[in-house]
Amino acid sequence: MAMITFRINRYNPDDERRGHYVQEYALDVCKGCTVLDALNQIKWEQDGSLTFRRSCRSGICGSCAMTIKGVNRLACETQVLALKSPNVTVEPMRGYPDIKDLVVSLDPLVRGLLAVRPYLITKTPPPSDQERLQSPEERARLDGLYECILCGACTSSCPSFWADKEYIGPHAFLKAYRFVADSRDEGSREHLEALDDKHGLWRCHTIFNCVEACPKDLNPTRAIGELKKELVRQRIG
């Protein structure tokens, strides 16, 4: 057990004049307690107005991405004691419009995602009563791509996104490459169309923040590199 002070960045949309402010909550934290457990305990026992998104508690739904001690993480899989600090600052993820307390708008995330036509595009109809064949090697190319949970941690950490709110974002590039790399997909031109743009791929300056931010240890920068090469092949041959 250890007494931890949580410094939480709060914001109430009904009180614009006050704007953002920091509120402190002290909590006795035991081994194994995650930041989400702590936030829940604060909400349920100290202050019901503290607002944050959460759902699965197990790092698969992507709801509880927030900035904890300056780093974008999933609150549900961050152990409080592993942060090794008596003070833990918790803020909403940067770059997205604020909604309330730790909750941000996901609209930029969705807009970027939709731009890459995030679905399998095929031209040849599939066999009627069989699956399409895909070798284990072809399937292995999707590992590290399909696991994205759309938590938004990467795009929020990206300086290109901070500079350009219409930047499509590393999460969407990862998704685009998930399809471009799929042996079954026949629409790489369509996936790439929106990426060859001022708000697209060329805005990535290979800063690697997205890689560091990803709670699922995925590598959007690598995907972006592959997509750039693919675009060059398509445009220049």
Binding site: G32, W44, C61, E77, L133, P136, E138, R139
Partner: protein, 594 residues
């Protein structure tokens, strides 16, 4: 496609006109069932999907191990074998007409997922890979475990959920993310839409529809140790009850054998399917005593009871309330390739490296076999038996077809959700082709919902919602868990009534309209009180042990009296019961051993 015409919309008291929406179909829940139905219906009609969380946050994504289908990609398999396993797994309470449909259509549904782009793991030949799972066997139970569960590593639910979302995006399904359903509008046996709360912006919205589908999922959150998401509060069940409709077989709650110790987070059955052992304090593979043939791959109800018995008899690790799931002998390669997520979860939540150490696990509330009674086309039945509510459908965990009977087999839930979601979509399309006009929307449609929100926002009592919910969960785990008995259930029923009384005197800290989870959690707790009473009352009534319902005072199955489904209504303060027979076609009830 219907063109939106604000002029044609009825006035709904207390709701601004711009907050009245009209769609041919309104689906509540963006999990596998809801989105699979949306994919089906959106080809022809205007479909809206409401979800209390962003669609890809739905809890279907938490499913890990696989989706069952007798594809026979890895070895000989037949739908008849799958059917036998499902019937036996259900402890003969499953309706065999529905089960037959499910196992026959399963290969089609799985292959369609592949065609949509789901990244299934593959065999050497490039076909969808399949693995072993508990209760799935060869040759009508005579052979060993069979390779039937189609998987995408141990992220099958995630892969399926995201694939469906992608297809919905392609089909231009209209999503209303972070809309929380408040009430269902059913009048004179006709469903006319529903009322919902806009979580982000605040405000009551009315959805006027020709058809409504519930794919609202389960309610694991009424138990202390659960694999379920915090969002899984059984809202759809309560909304259905409040519309005067019954619930079926609510006493059957599945406890998954392997939840991570303390958090209850799921460790997929794939861990055992790939060869993991369960061991107690003495290091014994104790399943030898309970299921000598199928061992760790016996069905979940049996394995959970075995673990709980070991714990109760003091053979938990160090005498504590958990045992070990040991994967070490599988080796690092197999673990990282086939069970990467389990490795990640055990590390992140218990700091256990399952390549080097066994994982501490305990049974965890996982799945609801019961739910809203529906027919094989997912039409909700007003009497629970044969009479459908016009325009109201339910599919997935919130519904009870019943294909799982007293106990669900692993990988049959992803199958049921997507397969019956698809059937519901097709049934809705047929219904809409015959239904040209929107049903009339009563002007007081939103009254109950508005009153509920206002009551919570102005609550001036002294009781904390969090504290009451914690007590409810603790009491449900203690009194209505894996093992039940009459005395404990009666006591629990009384305690729940006391808690509900306290719930009427809650306080609230956040009275704003925008993104108010304080409000939502209070409403969700109200939903929980609606149906936990039915779980307990149903468990008390059913004086036998069958599937996941295990009464220590009635340890045997009693087909004479209890080979029938429970139907329960809430009428005022009272719970009313009715029963209906089980449909038996191919397999007569037999003693169930593994």
């Amino acid at each position: 496609m219907t063109n939106f015409d604000p002029e044609s919309i009825h006035d709904v008291k207390g709701v601004p006109v711009h907050s009245v929406h009209r769609h041919d179909v309104v689906i509540v829940g963006a999990g596998l069932a809801g989105m699979r139905a949306a994919v089906e219906a959106s080809a022809e009609f205007d479909v809206a999907v409401l979800s209390k969380v962003f669609p890809t946050r739905s809890h279907s994504g938490g499913a890990q191990g696989g989706i069952a289908a007798s594809l026979a990609n890895e070895e000989e398999d037949h739908w008849e074998w799958h059917m036998f396993d499902t019937v036996k797994g259900s402890d003969y309470l499953g309706d065999q007409d529905a089960i037959e449909i499910m196992v026959k259509e399963a290969p089609v549904v799985v292959r369609e997922f592949e065609h949509m782009g789901c990244p299934f793991s593959r065999t050497r030949e490039g076909r969808i890979a399949q693995r072993k799972f508990g209760g799935h066997t060869k040759d009508f139970g005579k052979g060993g475990p069979i390779l039937r569960a189609c998987y995408a590593a141990d992220r099958t639910g995630h892969a399926l959920l995201h694939t469906l979302y992608e297809v919905c995006v392609h089909n231009r399904v209209r999503f209303y993310p972070e809309f929380f359903a408040l009430s269902l509008i059913v009048r004179d046996g006709v469903c006319r839409g529903l009322v919902a709360w806009d979580v982000i912006g605040g405000g009551v919205h009315v959805f006027h529809a020709k058809a409504v589908l519930f794919g609202t999922g389960g309610y694991g959150q009424v138990y202390r140790i659960t694999s379920n998401a915090l969002a899984n509060s059984g809202d759809g069940l309560s909304l259905s009850l409040r519309a005067g409709l019954p619930l079926e077989d609510m006493e059957f709650v599945q406890f998954h054998p392997t939840g991570l110790y303390q958090s209850g987070i799921l460790v997929s059955e794939a861990a055992r399917g790939e060869g993991g052992y369960l061991t107690n304090d003495k290091g014994e593979r104790f399943m030898e005593r309970y299921a000598p043939q199928k061992m760790e791959l016996a069905p979940r109800d049996l394995v959970s009871r075995s673990i709980q018995t070991e714990i109760n008899e003091g053979r938990g690790i160090g005498g504590g309330p958990y045992v070990h799931c040991d994967l070490r002998h599988l080796g690092a390669d197999k673990i990282m390739k086939l069970l990467p997520q389990i490795h990640e979860l055990a590390w992140k939540f218990l700091h256990v490296d399952c390549i080097k150490e066994p994982i501490p696990i305990q049974p965890t509330a996982h799945y609801s076999m019961g739910g809203i009674p529906v027919d094989i086309d997912c039409r909700v039945l007003i009497d629970g038996k044969s009479k459908p509510v016009a325009g109201f459908y339910a599919a997935g965990e919130c519904a009870c077809v019943s294909v799982h009977g007293g106990n669900r087999l692993g990988t049959n839930s992803l199958l049921e959700a997507s397969l019956f979601g698809r059937r519901a979509g097709k049934a809705i399309v047929r219904f809409l082709r015959e239904t040209r006009d929107f049903p009339e929307l009563p002007s007081d449609a939103a009254d109950a919902a508005i009153a509920e929100v206002e009551r919570v926002l102005s609550a001036g009592g002294s009781e904390s919602v969090g504290a009451i919910r914690t007590e409810l969960k603790d009491k449900m785990s203690a009194g209505c868990g894996i093992f039940r008995d009459g005395g404990k259930l009666e006591k629990l029923a009384g305690e729940l009534r006391g808690l509900e009384k306290r719930f009427r005197n809650i306080k609230i800290d956040d009275r704003s309209e925008k993104f108010n989870y304080d409000l939502l959690e209070a409403i969700e707790l109200g939903h929980m009180f609606d149906f936990v009473e039915l779980i307990v009352a149903g468990a008390l009534k059913r004086q036998e042990s069958r599937g996941a319902h295990s009464r220590t005072d009635f340890p045997d199955r009693d087909d004479e009296k209890w080979l029938r489904h429970t139907l329960a209504w809430k009428r005022g303060e009272k719970v009313e019961f009715d029963y209906k027979p089980v449909t038996i076609t191919r397999f007569q009830p037999k003693t169930r051993t593994y």
